[in-house]
């Protein structure tokens, strides 16, 4: 028997919120996460006591943990989760919370990804990221994630013929999207292809606009039942399908594919749709090469075809092609909160709440996550297809 996820019926996603991103903050991660919770309560009209489940993801919460926050925020929960799969955490938190709702383990789960940032916190996170990284990566130049991703990018270019211009198409179109999203930290600056190509080199093929800017901020949403959402009278979204894989294709010497291709077909068939039906796609863009792997693994093009795909496809929110990372993604908004950005942006698009970067008539959204470079590759892949509740 093949194991496949059961449907997520009866589950509603509501109240997407963002605590505005800032480059640095004196506030703790708890402040960002708690402020997201407050914003969700305001958005949904729920009282704090109604929240009986909490799912938290953060790189900067230590020494505290999810249960510390239950006390910080004066909550009493009967379901608690700390999802630590890096940039896959948003999608993974969503699908786990959905199961808690379906099984009656919780009534309302607040899912929040949030981080703080000070000028030293990024180095601290990177310098002690994992045992393998401490022993076998950081002593080789201490370049953080730029090191393994420069090698993956170089190998991808050598293998597929992708060029810097191809990666540039991703970064430049995302910047255009960010120019229409007030919350993007780099949204006030334009970026054209020449500006992308002329940027300073960081690591091998990676240049400045291939790299995300770590920052502070939080994103979150509530997961509850359709019944509850209707009772509250708020618009809601449904999860048509979702899945995850960890340490997929471990025998590949270089990561030129992620776990998505192991479940993408099932995602589409469970949702009854195909890639051409997706109105907007949010991928996890820690580096453009990983975006290419998601285009390929999620069936938008064939394996190794990412470069040709971005040459032929308009990726801006209003270009009529495949609207992609429609608020600018991490490359232009900033990196905080472990992959919740894409979930919240998908929700806003489907709710028609994306303001100046709204994709016209978006009714079907896909969001993808990727995370945790424990050694030489990201271990976690996740994706979901969402639709406006009806």
């Amino acid at each position: 028997m093949t194991v496949r996820p059961q449907p997520y019926e009866g589950v509603a996603l509501i109240a997407p919120v963002t605590v505005p991103y800032v480059r640095y903050s004196e506030h703790s991660a708890a402040w960002f996460i708690g402020s997201a919770l407050a914003a969700m309560l305001q958005s949904s009209g729920l009282e704090k006591d109604a929240v009986d489940g909490l799912s938290v993801s953060s790189f900067t919460l230590a020494p505290d943990s999810a249960v510390s926050l239950v006390e910080h925020f004066g909550l009493q929960t009967r379901w608690l989760e700390q999802v630590g799969v890096g940039g896959a955490s948003g999608v993974v938190a969503m699908r786990r919370a959905a199961r808690a709702i379906q099984c009656g383990d919780a009534d309302v789960v607040a899912c929040i990804g949030g981080d703080t940032a000070d000028p030293r916190s990024f180095t601290g996170t990177v310098a002690n990221f994992s045992q393998f990284s401490n022993d076998a990566v950081y002593p080789q130049g201490a370049a953080g994630p730029n090191a393994p991703f420069s090698l993956i990018t170089q190998r991808y270019m050598d293998t597929t013929g992708a060029t810097r211009e191809d990666f540039g198409r991703i970064s430049v179109s995302q910047r255009y999207n960010a120019n229409h999203y007030a919350g993007a930290l780099l949204g006030h600056k334009t970026l054209d292809m020449q500006g992308y190509l002329d940027a300073r080199q960081v690591a091998g093929p990676l240049h400045l606009f291939d790299c995300v800017m770590p920052c502070a901020g939080a994103d979150g949403f509530l997961v509850t039942s359709v019944e509850k959402a209707q009772e509250l009278g708020v618009p809601w979204l449904e999860i048509l399908s979702a899945d995850e894989r960890h340490n997929a294709f471990a025998a590949d010497p270089v990561q030129l594919r992620g776990g998505w291709e192991l479940f993408a077909d099932d995602l589409y068939s469970a949702a009854g749709v195909s890639p051409k039906d997706i109105d907007c796609l949010q991928t996890y863009d820690d580096y453009p090469v990983i975006v290419m792997l998601q285009f390929e693994g999620l069936g938008f093009c064939k394996p190794g075809g990412g470069a040709a795909f971005v040459r032929d496809t308009v990726l801006t929110f209003d270009g009529g092609g495949l609207p992609h990372n429609t608020n600018g993604g991490q490359l232009s908004v900033g990196q905080a909160g472990l992959g919740f950005l894409g979930v919240v942006e998908s929700m806003r698009q489907l709710l028609g709440a994306a303001d100046k970067h709204q994709v016209p008539e978006a009714s079907l959204a896909m969001v993808s996550g990727y995370g945790m470079v424990n050694y030489d590759r990201g271990l976690c892949s996740a994706a979901a297809i969402l639709r406006k509740g009806m």
Partner: protein
């Protein structure tokens, strides 16, 4: 202020350093299934047994990719930049990240990987072999 390379290691990483011999390559090998593994850990990644030896293994491998790191989070490396970083698929199994001793073109380059010491810190380095006819 004099700065050295970052020295934070796990207990297994410390053992790797202790077993490192300049010019050789000593990695963990499972005494039951003979799997060679890197980075070091406490159990065999294949059979989950804990009888692991430190063995001199074959140093040959294929260069997978290399890049020159222009930016480092550590002042020690920033002073040495650009740092030539390579990923190598060793003939004995694992993929290792190593400092490349000379720049070289991509594609079909054989390298030899060995331990070396840099400012008191133990690292792996990879030396290109079949460079004779390459530009």
């Amino acid at each position: 202020m004099s700065v050295g390379p970052p020295a934070l290691r796990s207990p297994q990483g410390t053992k790797l350093d202790e077993h490192a011999v300049e010019g050789e390559l000593t990695l963990q090998q499972c005494s039951v299934c003979q799997t060679v593994q890197y980075p070091p850990r406490e159990l065999c990644r294949h059979c989950l047994g804990d009888e692991l030896n430190w063995s001199a293994v074959s140093r040959g491998g294929d260069l997978l990719a290399y890049s020159e790191l222009q930016h480092s989070l550590e002042p020690f490396f920033q002073e040495q930049s650009p740092w030539r970083l390579a990923s190598v698929k060793l003939d004995c199994g694992p993929v290792v990240l190593a400092r490349l001793t000379a720049s070289c073109p991509s594609g079909n380059i054989r390298v030899e990987v060995s331990h070396t010491t840099l400012a008191g810190s133990c690292i792996l380095q990879a030396s290109p072999l079949n460079m004779e006819n390459k530009p």
